[in-house]
Amino acid sequence: MPTAHKTIPEPDPAIRVRALESLLIEKGLIDPKALDVLVDTYEHKVGPRNGAKVVARAWSDPAYKQRLLDDATSAIKEFGFSGLQGEDMEVVENTPEVHNIVVCTLCSCYPWPTLGLPPVWYKSAPYRARVVSDPRGVLREFGLELPETTEIRVWDTTAELRYLVLPERPAGTEALSETQLEALVTRDSMIGVGQPKSA
């Protein structure tokens, strides 16, 4: 049903944010330096390279991989990756038979400690709407075509569990070190819309 009124335009978002931030500072309720630290943390310190380390370790060390599948939160915490939006983790493993993809249809839930903040496309309506009902079409948009025989599993992050895909280790990488393996792990492969780089 259409709304009865036209949407009231809002101020320029930069001004809107400055307005709220300055009011809260004036009232002594926030410290802007804390915001500086938060911005720096998620711009520079927390990102998909964290998840890549977890994946590379799982590829190299079968015992770690088992710990990761049994208790992802603890296994990921072995690296010191923990906390906000990653308090309760689940890792889902890609195999030749099964390909996993993660979404949050209702908002934008995403495992921050391992992947950082989500990209715009993940949080936007087209992905959230389509990946649950047309995962192959979505993967095609990302340039990934899977065999018809692969089972696609789409995980909708409707509660407070956060999901990380463990992609398949690329062929011909037996001789690579963990650090070299890390470089093959892409963010998109840990969401499930891509595969890792080849060796």
Binding site: G28, L29, I30, D31, K33, A34, D36, V37, L38, T41, V46, G80, S82, G83, L84, Q85, G86, E87, D88, E90, T105, L106, V132, S133, P135, R136, E148, T149, T150, E151, I152, R153, V154, W155, D156, T157, T158, A159, E160, L161
Partner: protein, 115 residues
Amino acid sequence: MLLTPELVPVVTSTGASARVAAHVAPRFRAGDQVLIRNWQPTTHTRLPGYIRGKKGVVEKDYGVFAFPDTHAHGKGEKPQHCYSVRFTARELWGDQASDRDSLRVDVFDDYMDPR
């Protein structure tokens, strides 16, 4: 509490888990067949419309968490089990959908009934 720069790393590395350390009996366990309730509140819920009234199978019990439907409205945590529930693509999207693909949705105890 004022969030200071020194507190930021503590807050980000600790987070705020929604798990509740309460002993609540689960109504379901892995393998159970379920039917998602026709629950349509005008208030907050994490039950997506596309699974309402659909048949699924419980895959895993994740344990006890705060219930968003009440927690969003100052009505308490109402802690309950949250499960990973499997739905086939055809169950959700009709006969034109893949007969192989599936979905996993995290579903609270209050959102479903046995079938």
